[in-house]
């Protein structure tokens, strides 16, 4: 074999070895085990923090409200629909039983007119929606900003929850 070809072969073999070593160093651990991605990324995706506790966790303490709610129209709603994410609240309550909750962990109590209007404001897209509740009625639609706004007795503005119990509307 002529010398210049030999040199070329050596150079190519050298580059190939260099490339393989470099690839082994740079390739992340567990890449390509299941496909063209890091297998560890699946595990990392499962390790994020949770926020929502689920209805079962709420009923552990608030069983009376659960019993009240399941008779009414709002029986299909989970607690966290209105009260917001409550896993930290539930965990704290479980860890320190009977202790007062710090303010940061108290859940929201939506009691303004606009909070009810999110679902019950009259809208053309909402009118004909049936839902599986105690008697398969349509969702109740009102003009939330006008519906019985001023009390006849006190002449003051009223909130929805002054007349309707949100757990049993």
């Amino acid at each position: 074999m002529p010398l210049h070809i030999k040199r070329l072969v050596f150079t190519f073999v050298g580059l190939l070895v260099f490339f393989i070593i470099l690839q082994q160093i740079l390739k992340p651990h567990s890449f390509g085990v299941q496909g063209h991605f890091r297998e560890d990324a699946i595990k990392e995706n499962t390790q994020r923090a949770l926020q929502y506790a689920g209805k079962a966790n709420c009923t552990k303490c608030h069983d009376s409200i659960h019993a009240e709610k399941k008779e009414g129209y709002h029986s299909t709603l989970n607690c966290e629909v209105c009260h917001g994410p409550g896993l930290k609240h539930a965990q704290y309550a479980q860890m320190f039983e009977g202790k007062e909750l710090p303010d940061s962990l108290t859940l929201i109590k939506p009691n303004e007119r606009k909070d009810c209007a999110i679902c019950h404001q009259r809208n053309a897209a909402r009118i004909k929606i049936l839902f599986d509740t105690i008697d398969n009625t349509m969702i109740h639609q009102i003009d939330a900003m006008e519906h019985n706004l001023i009390s006849k007795k006190t002449k003051k503005e009223r909130r929805c929850i002054d007349c309707h119990n949100p757990h049993q509307p």
Partner: protein, 255 residues
Amino acid sequence: MKKEKKQFSRRDFFKTGAILVGGVAASAFLSSVNGVLIAGEPSKKRGKWYGIGIDINKCIGCGKCAAACKNENNIIKEPFYFRSWVEQYTIKNDGTVKVESPNGGIDGFTQSIPDEEIFKSFFVPKMCNHCSKSPCTQVCPVGATFETSEGVVLIDPNYCIGCGYCIQACPYGCRYKNPETGTADKCTLCFHRLDKGLQPACFEICPTQARIYGDLNDPQSNINYFLKNHNCMVIKPNLNTGSKLFYNALTPEVR
């Protein structure tokens, strides 16, 4: 005149035979290399293979799913960054379609068109379709997004270079660039909740149970019951994305 007789000699027979066998062998070899063909098939027929069902007839457009998604996944509370959102489609009497989604529906919808002009109006909750032939994973240059064996499309934020290619590739607009990390981000079907046997946040929170998810491989699952009982359709079926988000009562106006 000499009659030309078409003869099929032994030599021809071997030639054609060799070509045929070689062709079949080569195509069999190539099919295992072809990424598009692999992606089209579920990686396994047994085990979990998640699908999602959304009943448009049941959605009341409260936007609680969009809000729950933001809470659960710590997404910036700003419009434009949504993994799950709700759109209101209004078809007017003159045939024009208006689509609106103020802040993804989180603050509720207010009717912007008077009743007399409306022919039909409905809400469409949107989220990642978790396609089985997902265009977004095919374009990733570094392998930072992938489909798990459960059929969930995930992102590896530690490996993403933030080129934004996948954001353009998604035909459903379900990806966004996280302004904090600079990487692509999307719905993970709350993979961290599924792993612990909990429902994804938007399914947990839906007040009318308009959303259903389940194992498509299990004939007894919720999702298969939903698919059998409703006239279901995916968005943009012509794109052959293998979408696994099935809508009941989907109309062609929805894009």
